[in-house]
Subunit: 345 residues, 4 copies
């Protein structure tokens, strides 16, 4: 059994790691940390775990984690993660970091969008944890930088087109919609029920920190520097993320042609499903699961392709993907512990 | 492997049976019927099944079902169920009926609240499928009448008190709140998003058909005829049911005393969890799971006890409970295939 | 024009006072205070006011308020209100206090449920601001204690029965459901979208501070000491409150008989509407308005009456009722500025 | 008083017309028609009207309407409207048609996206009812074609840029999000609470019938033929629409420059509000009102402008705009009856 530590177990992604790993046949959760709830059984913080999970929140002491775990999941804010990753790597632990701290290869880009980096010497070796693109690197990695939720939808949504050079790289526009759980379990005014209910809004317009992460990976896929326009929106639901991606096609492909390209590109990817022509993904259809559903349409009137890419932001957008990465790092079947069927309705 | 047929697979309880049974280690779904979607792969009706379930909807032909199944789940409306149950029983199938047709022992009561019964000769042998109360009968039954969602919350909520004779049986008031999925997947005005969103309402006030079902079981538990006042309410959520139950205590028990009674009563029941004093169940904490969470409070000022009982109406209130019954009928561990952790948030 | 000051204008009840008073033909808002947003235009805090309201938040200086206002609305927490009410009364202002500080006549009851009272000498003269019951006192009052949202639904729902002595006063059970706006505009974990969405829960079971307020008024109406059992619940909507009230009938009245009693009792009350037999109130049907809709049903099987009483908690449950009180205090038509039609859907 | 007839009063836009016109100081509703609810008081269909509106639904007899009304609002489906408009025009009534039947000037375009047109001789004289653009024509019109909800957001969002020629007309991408009320009050599966709750999806991708309407008006504004890419999305809320519009800037304008252009363009438009730099519109902030809030951001990294445009789809997107048009047609102040402050939260 793999012994897993979850650092930051009482946020929504921490809880989701607990939910998934508790049902994983090859894993035992040995440590769950929480400064705020130290000493409390986790099922008192989250009654949804009653009867299923029996672990007590500990303070995040590195020694204890090192002694008890083979793999460390960091579900802490960026800037906190960079102080902990080196400690666990030096103790020969495998580390899966759900924060942004090790996703960007270029420290200058990181420091432009975030703040100074105190552990940039690890950037080079960190594998970008999107298994559909980087499986080989992830299998060998000590440190995996788990992707952001928005980048997961967008990179998966564009990879086949970029790899084949089918679109004008300057024309990419990304319009994303997310549920409120993406904002985390923090008591802030903007996440109150009455502030987001019966509302749609854009936020961090053309200024969201996931932008450089997308651009890094899209550029890698295409072989050219890519800059995109990205607008995230908040919609009144708990889980779910849908990205609508627009790009100018260079050629005359039909919707059917492109669907074939996507099916071929993802024919070894167990969690990516391509919708049939005329069907489009809905976030409700992936809720609670590690799937990414992708749909396509060529707008023949304007020569653009529209790609729709849906995930559960807490699963494929965070904790499920982290477990998928763990499976690869430990030589397990990629889908182990992740076969749960979406919960609809 | 148990071969299971699901009659009526394209309603919400049918879909939930598919979701649960697909992940059950001892079951293969061999037949899923739907008049409306005959010939269509089920995952085209419910894209949430894409990649997980590969079965085509068939017309509900009894012969085919009989040839292919060991157990038949009926997820069809009452009045339809009573025409099918005899066919499957006569072919020596085990039958779990999710409709109301075989829940009431007294055909006159059934015919008063519903309509004439065409198969009343099977009422006597049907086991009322609430495993926490009737496990022995269920284990031996050919036919299990799966309880209604409201009765599940209310019977589990009151059983310990009635069994011990702790309350005035004339004083019971039940105020229940349900999510919209309980109304099924029918295109009716009253289930439209805009008609239930941002709204709470009572419906079928003191006139809901689950009333005699509750009264039958509560009377059995207490040994006295019991009549209750029951008001169901609709709240704007998809899944979830909470019943708030009021009764006059005969004695001077404290909240702690009663919690002890409940813990003892349910100490062999894997799906019933009693909340600690001061804590109360929330439907969000059982979503997607087969749990029933129960909380208690004695209102010392008035001598009443208040019991709160929460389930996922589609799981413990319908399809999960049906699978729990199947496990008992086939001699499997009661929790097989039902250990999924609730999905929160 | 009546010059109105709103103390605490940036909570939800404060905003609702601004919305209603801005459209009131006899009122000018001269002061809106907010410690947190001092100096900011109110429409920057609440963009919904852009184009309609042009006032800047001030610090809550009593002198400025006294110089600029004829009536002071206090939309501040209890305990804060009791320090301000004497100041404004001594300056000969009319005061409408939306907090709980002056609702209870018996200071010992107040101090048992809340904390010590520093201005109890004003309790006797405060009029309890439920116009349907206390219009005469309100018309003459300098100080009106605006009722709580729960008490508004419950007192209006029970008044005709208590006045006529038709029910067993010991048998009253109140089960209420509220939207999340009742918790106010505070950044607390329990009001986060992800914590209340897709959830129903009870809270402060048999322990809510509105209990003594209801009991005081119900006792006054009946002439006997009344104790009730009260359970509030939180449902996932922004606005709206529904109370379901249960009581044992002494006699054999039919639903129709009781509806006639209610229609007669409220025939001069412009904001109370009694539903026809078989119809029940929905919170969606009063949203944004000052109405209270009441429906009734006699459960003949058990001899109980079930009363359903619905309001918008921010309007008839708070700010609309405050303006209704102001109209009476200043000799205006009771409905002035309050005729807005509910917003459905 | 203007006597108004509402044809199709029991859909959501019909109800919204009733709500707005009932409070309009210059209007009396004399006829409200409904085939389905003929003979029923409207407040029995919509209890939200209880106490405010006392009118009985009639069958849609043209004679009765003609005898009783000065202006006819058609809130009926397209194809039905085209059969009624000529009747009312020939009887010298002013007609405001909320359907799509008279919005497109080119009958071939109409027949390509809809079906054959039986009254195309009236297309030329119909004024396109967007007062911020076509006030002069509306003032003189007998027939106003009230715009669709999507076009209202998009045309208002792009008009200043097109008028000044600031963007590349080939580069326009529109990504819109709507609440469920836009689908109307029809009992269809896709509008059920459980089918849209906790979900976001695109629909009619690059194929929505509002596309030619937008293109007609955008082309008129710019003086060039414009084709756009348009993707509508459904989000789980009742009311509200947000369009996010992307276009390539020809020049080097800053966000501030463009905001100045918009403020100048709309300085006579009482219902259009331009957000300050860094602020963006939210649908919750216009709920129940006739406002359109617009925000802007230049994405300097890519040279695109992002425009956000929010309305209440039932008010500025339908019934409120219809009343605004009526005000112009009858020489009233444009804002009469439309000054209601948005309901937040």
């Amino acid at each position: 059994m793999i012994r897993a530590a979850i650092i930051g177990a009482t946020g929504y992604t921490g809880l989701e790691l607990v939910r998934i790993l508790s049902a994983h046949p090859g894993v035992t959760i040995t440590v769950a940390t929480s400064r705020q709830y130290e000493g409390r059984p986790l099922h008192k913080v989250f009654p949804s775990l009653s009867g299923s999970v029996d672990i007590v929140c500990q303070s995040p002491s590195p020694e204890r984690v090192i002694g008890a775990a083979d793999v460390v999941f960091l579900a802490v804010p960026h800037q906190t993660a960079m102080t902990q990753v080196p400690v666990f790597l030096q103790a020969d632990k495998k580390v899966i970091d759900l924060s942004a701290d090790f996703r960007l290869k270029d420290v200058r880009v990181y420091e432009k969008w975030y703040q100074p980096h105190s552990a940039s010497e690890y950037l080079a070796e960190a594998a970008y944890g999107l298994p559909e693109i980087h499986a080989a690197a992830i299998r060998k990695a000590r440190l995996v930088a788990n992707p952001g939720c928005y980048p997961t939808t967008v990179i998966l949504g564009l990879a086949p087109l970029l790899k084949k050079g089918l679109i004008d790289n300057k024309s990419i526009v990304v319009d994303s919609k997310t549920g409120v759980s993406g904002a985390g379990r923090s008591a802030v005014l903007s996440s109150l029920f009455c502030e987001v209910h019966e509302d749609v809004k854009a936020y961090k317009v053309a200024a969201h920190r996931h932008t450089p992460e997308m651009e890094q990976e899209l550029s890698l896929l295409s072989g050219e520097e890519i800059a995109i326009t990205f607008t995230p929106h908040l919609v009144p639901m708990g889980r779910g993320m849908l990205s609508t991606i627009y790009a100018d096609l260079k050629g005359q492909q039909t919707t059917g042609d492109l669907i074939s390209e996507y099916e071929e590109f993802y024919n070894q990817a167990p969690f990516v499903k391509i919708c049939a022509e005329g069907a489009y993904p809905q976030t409700a259809h992936v809720k609670g699961s590690n799937y990414c559903f992708i749909g396509l349409k060529v707008d023949e009137r304007t020569g653009r392709v529209i790609i729709l890419s849906a995930i559960d932001n807490l699963v494929k957008g965070a904790s499920g993907q982290a477990v998928q990465n763990m499976n690869l790092m430990f030589g397990l079947e990629e889908t182990t512990g992740l076969k749960g069927i979406p919960l609809f309705p």
